[in-house]
């Protein structure tokens, strides 16, 4: 196992660990509040941010962050206004953001950013600075979730009643969208823009099948998400496969197992 002595591999494993924990926790909220498509929309919109950053000579992850948070808020605003259905709004926003990104790339002269690594992930290219950023932002997301734990739970369970009870639901909604956007952008490093939404959907969906208790759903989601990431990473190394894609397929396989063997869910609920 000399590979583990190599720094890039250590960083890959660490990044994978931190990001899978954060994604799995956020995944619980995404799944229970029905925000999966918003997650997809935010992820694909990040492409516009990355391309813009590359064009302007700024850190692409930085611009992607600002871009994604902006798009997340716009989607939130549009869905609350209710003129158009939420999924139609997202379906408009993200292709436009992606198209914008493609045009930005067209303007670029000379060295172009490695698109493939942003689209499909490059966990084996996590640098020291990247690791700091991932740890910091990951911790920030977890910190906010812990701090507003009960408000978030009430919000996703019964938004209207939460509002009557004095929970600041508008703030919580936009905070959640922001946390999703941040999580999405830092996770682009492991699995890339195209696949990152799966990290926000699969762990939560799998753990939903296993328990009737919210706290356990959180625990199982982290175990499944982190386990799949580590195992997927190991398999991709062993068989020389794309790391990001292997992680996604592994987690999907775990989901399938949960679906087939779901203990309590097999009983129909009244």
């Amino acid at each position: 196992m000399e590979i583990l002595a190599l720094e890039f591999m250590q960083r890959a494993i660490l990044a994978g660990l931190i990001l899978s924990v954060v994604c799995s926790v956020v995944s619980v909220y995404v799944v229970l509040k029905g925000l999966s498509f918003i997650g997809v929309g935010i992820a694909h919109s990040a492409f516009g941010g990355v391309a813009l950053g590359a064009l302007l000579g700024l850190n692409p992850i930085g611009t992607a962050m600002v871009f994604s948070v902006g798009v997340a808020w716009l989607i939130g605003l549009a869905s609350k206004r209710g003129q158009l259905s939420e999924d139609a709004t997202i379906g408009i926003f993200f292709p436009v953001a992606m198209a914008f990104g493609v045009i930005c790339i067209g303007f670029q002269e000379g060295y172009t950013v490695d698109l493939f690594s942003y689209l499909f992930g490059s966990i084996l290219a996590v640098g020291r600075q990247d690791l700091w950023l991932i740890s910091l932002l990951g911790l920030l997301v977890l910190f906010f979730i812990a701090g507003f734990f009960k408000e978030l739970l009430f919000f996703i369970f019964d938004e209207e009643l939460a509002r009557v009870n004095g929970i600041p639901v508008t703030f919580i909604f936009y905070m959640l969208l922001t946390l999703i956007a941040i999580t999405v952008v830092v996770s682009i490093k492991i699995v890339g823009i195209i696949l990152v939404s799966s990290l926000l959907v699969i762990p939560g969906s799998a753990s939903y099948l296993l328990t009737h208790r919210f706290n356990w759903m959180m625990v199982y989601s982290v175990l499944i998400g982190t386990g799949s990431t580590m195992v997927g990473l190991a398999i991709s190394y062993k068989f020389d496969l794309a790391a990001g894609a292997t992680i996604v397929i592994t987690s999907a396989f775990v989901f399938l197992v949960c679906l087939i063997f779901a203990p309590k869910r097999s009983k129909a609920l009244s």
Partner: protein, 268 residues
């Protein structure tokens, strides 16, 4: 009419609400005093739920003012936690992974405020309220495993957790079987007396609702009557409220069948 020297709990002055160009509530004037159990009846689409939402501050009126506990603009300025709200049952996803106890605990989140974790005192309050509705044995069950009536009792326990002075219930007996409905109204009345609550209840069940409430409000865009039940309840009032001919069938103190006679010649 209700009369009270102290600040009315709810006061609506010329409240008008329109939604999508249609008038849902038209010039509503309503005063509800403390300790009174008010029932609100009326046909579907007549504005009953909208009225509740206006009182709660969820929908601002297009015209007129709303006062809750003497404060204008509830929802922005009224002290939270003084109102316990039990919404219509169907709003919640029954497969959401929470237990009965978890649901009742949510009633403590508002009073706790931001950045504070629920502690033993909160858990004790939650359990106490579960016992008040006789649901303590169900504490660890997933909320989705309960019947409609059982879930409603849990929601009432949740609403009681903020020690409210006003309890608002929107069609609380939807999905509850007929025998349990009576039990249910009796429970609410008991709680009202025990905790000194003011209660506002919307229900479809015209007959049963009049057995337990103090005041009755008939609403169909406008308030048709507001007065001491059962004096106000007559065929005429109901017909005006519901906009159609009505046959009244009563439970309890009233005769079993009272039919409005349309044709004097038929009574022979």
């Amino acid at each position: 009419m209700t009369s009270s020297e102290s600040t009315p709990i709810v006061k609506l002055d010329s409240v008008t609400v329109s939604m999508n160009g249609k008038t849902v509530l038209d010039d509503i004037n309503l005063v509800i005093g403390p300790g009174v159990h008010t029932g609100i009846i009326g046909p579907n689409g007549g504005g009953k739920t909208t009225l509740l939402k206006v009182i709660l501050g969820l929908i601002p009126p297009d015209r007129g003012t709303v006062q809750l506990f003497g404060h204008l603009n509830p929802g922005e300025t009224s002290p939270k936690g003084m109102v316990g709200y039990v919404p219509q049952k169907c709003v919640v996803d029954p497969r959401f992974p929470v237990s009965v106890f978890d649901v009742v605990m949510m009633g403590r989140y508002g009073p706790l405020g931001l950045f504070r974790r629920p502690g033993k005192k909160d858990r004790d309050v939650a359990m106490e309220n579960l016992q008040k509705v006789e649901m303590e044995k169900f504490a660890d069950r997933p909320i989705g495993h309960l019947s409609g009536g059982e879930q409603q009792k849990v929601f009432i326990a949740r609403a009681l957790c903020s020690s409210p002075q006003l309890l608002i219930l929107d069609e609380p007996t939807t999905g509850v079987d007929v025998q349990s409905q009576d039990q249910f109204y009796r429970l609410i009345n008991q709680l009202k007396i025990e905790l000194g609550l003011t209660v506002i209840m919307v229900s479809h069940d015209v007959g049963m609702i009049t057995s337990y409430i103090d005041d009755l409000v008939c609403i169909n865009q406008r308030v048709f009557i507001h007065g001491k039940s059962p004096d106000v309840l007559s065929e005429k009032i109901l017909q005006e409220t519901y906009g159609c001919e009505v046959e009244m069938i009563f439970h309890g103190h009233f005769p079993h069948r009272v039919i409005d006679q349309h044709n004097p010649e038929e009574t022979e």
